[in-house]
């Protein structure tokens, strides 16, 4: 497959920077192939480390070594560090060891094969899957046509200060940022979901002024809940991916809250609301999400923000009264005003 949706910024002209991206994608690809087996094996062996702790050990090893990586074969050095960490900290069970051996074999084969443009292909395939998934599961609910994969531009952020992915509505492109941080490894494991989030939260909404709370919480929960309810993926695989995704989100949030990039308050303003409304009325939920996504550039997003903030802490009975059936954000606020609860 020709990786025609992925391009690299100039810094990847340096072989050592390109090697960092290669190592990340090689390791992520090797883990992805055995992820379900790994988590099941850790469960079967019981005790510690559990599956997420094994992944965390690799995330640690990779992020700490990222700066020193100069060539793709360093993937095997990072691997040795990872195994060293596991051995020092824990006694691995037999089944877990067998799966880790298989991942090692897989990684060695991929690394020695030195497939040209492996990293670009890895991201391109994830991008195609992301666009397909959004087109198939999200857009029909919003009355929007299917989309084609957007161009992905990969950048290197040595200080890990920007988002690990971004999107420009103006140019219609997605940015993928390689960073020496733990969440980069998790992002590689669930690359298509990271890209799906960029489509849903940043490329699809027509209004550029939607707040971070709406994009990073409401729309993120929309995506997450749709995956939870995905009937077309084996239950165990789905649970594993959701676990990895949840650890990724938590790792990412903590990183950006520590760096002061993200304000923790956006979560308390909106968190859970999408899930609650979705569970109480699927039709209201999709109409609300449709109103958010389809808000045009010249419309004011403030009523949406105000209404969601107002709805977030309401008890079920009032939440239902204001959202079922859904009549729009302005009528919702007007009804709340008449009920005397618009000051929240």
């Amino acid at each position: 497959m020709n990786p025609n949706t992925v391009s690299l910024e100039d810094s990847f002209g340096s072989s050592s920077v390109y090697a960092k991206l290669s190592v990340l994608t090689l390791i992520a690809a090797a883990f992805r192939s055995h992820l379900t087996d790994l988590m099941a094996a850790a469960d079967r062996d019981g005790g510690l480390p559990d599956g997420p702790q094994i992944l965390d050990a690799m995330a640690e090893a990779l992020s700490s070594q990222m700066g020193a990586i100069r060539e793709p074969s360093a993937a095997l050095v990072v691997w040795d560090q990872f195994r060293g960490r596991l051995t020092v900290a824990w006694t691995l069970g037999t089944t877990t060891t067998q799966v880790i051996d298989r991942i090692e074999q897989d990684l060695t084969t991929r690394t020695n094969a030195t497939a040209p443009q492996f990293a670009e292909r890895f991201l391109h395939e994830a991008n195609v899957r992301a666009a397909e998934w959004i087109s198939q599961y999200i857009l029909p609910n919003l009355g929007r046509p299917a989309i084609t994969p957007a161009p992905v531009r990969v950048t290197w952020d040595q200080k890990a200060e920007s988002y690990c992915a971004s999107a420009s509505r103006l140019t219609g492109t997605i940015g993928w940022t390689l960073q020496p941080s733990k969440h980069s490894f998790y992002a590689g494991l669930v690359a298509e979901r990271v890209l799906e989030h960029e489509y849903l939260s940043h490329l699809l909404p027509g209004n550029l002024k939607l707040s971070k709370g709406i994009r990073e919480v409401w729309l993120m929960e929309t995506l997450e809940e749709e995956h939870r309810n995905d009937q077309y993926i084996a239950l165990h695989r789905k649970q594993v991916l959701l676990t990895v995704w949840t650890w990724f989100r938590m790792e990412l949030e903590n990183h950006f809250i520590r760096k002061g990039v993200l304000e923790r308050g956006i979560f308390t303003r909106f968190e859970d609301l999408a899930i609650r409304i979705r569970r109480r009325s699927l039709s209201s939920f999709w109409q609300m999400t449709g109103d958010i996504i389809n808000l045009s550039a010249h419309q004011d997003p403030a009523p949406i923000e105000r209404a969601l903030k107002m709805l977030r802490p309401l008890p079920d009975e009032i939440l239902d009264a204001l959202t079922i059936p859904w009549t729009g954000f302005a009528p919702c606020l007007e009804n709340a005003r008449m009920m005397g609860i618009d000051k929240m």
Partner: protein
């Protein structure tokens, strides 16, 4: 008083993590929230008593008690979502500016204020009174001598 604040925040963090994971072990909740394990055991036991958790025993090749994984049931999820909404409503009742709400890693003292403008906190109060249940202020006070936050949720 500080101990009360800490407990309140810990319950919120645990509920938040549980609604995200839906399937979790004690160890995972501990790593995600950094809440002490004893508090997590109480949290899990309370949900279990309510019938809000299903338990999966993980086989173990290691000696000792087998590890357990808990699955949040649909009713458990509803319960925790409602409870977190209540926490936020009480926290917002406390805020004057309405900006930067609190995720209580170092939580605020959450006591609903009497306000001239009707708000959801007062609605909770009247709804609870109508149902013959304690007002929302009471369970917060209960936390001073009781770890349980069951009463807090009774307002629903």
């Amino acid at each position: 008083m500080q101990a009360v604040e800490r407990k309140f925040g810990q319950q919120f963090l645990l509920a938040r993590a549980a609604t995200r994971f839906r399937r979790f072990t004690i160890n995972e909740l501990h790593r995600a929230t950094e809440v002490p394990e004893n508090t997590i055991y109480s949290f899990v036991a309370r949900l279990h008593r309510r019938g809000d958790l299903e338990t999966e025993e993980l086989s173990s090749v290691h000696p000792g008690r087998p590890r357990k994984r808990y699955l949040l049931t649909e009713s458990g999820l509803d319960y925790l979502l409602r409870r977190n909404a209540l926490v936020i409503s009480l926290a917002q009742g406390e805020q004057v500016s309405g900006t930067a709400p609190i995720v209580p890693t170092t939580p605020a003292i959450i006591t609903p204020q009497v306000q001239s403008t009707p708000n959801v906190a007062t609605w909770y109060s009247s709804a609870a009174a109508g149902a013959g249940q304690p007002s929302p202020a009471r369970p917060v006070a209960r936390e001073q001598d009781d770890e349980s936050d069951e009463g807090l949720v009774a307002a629903y």
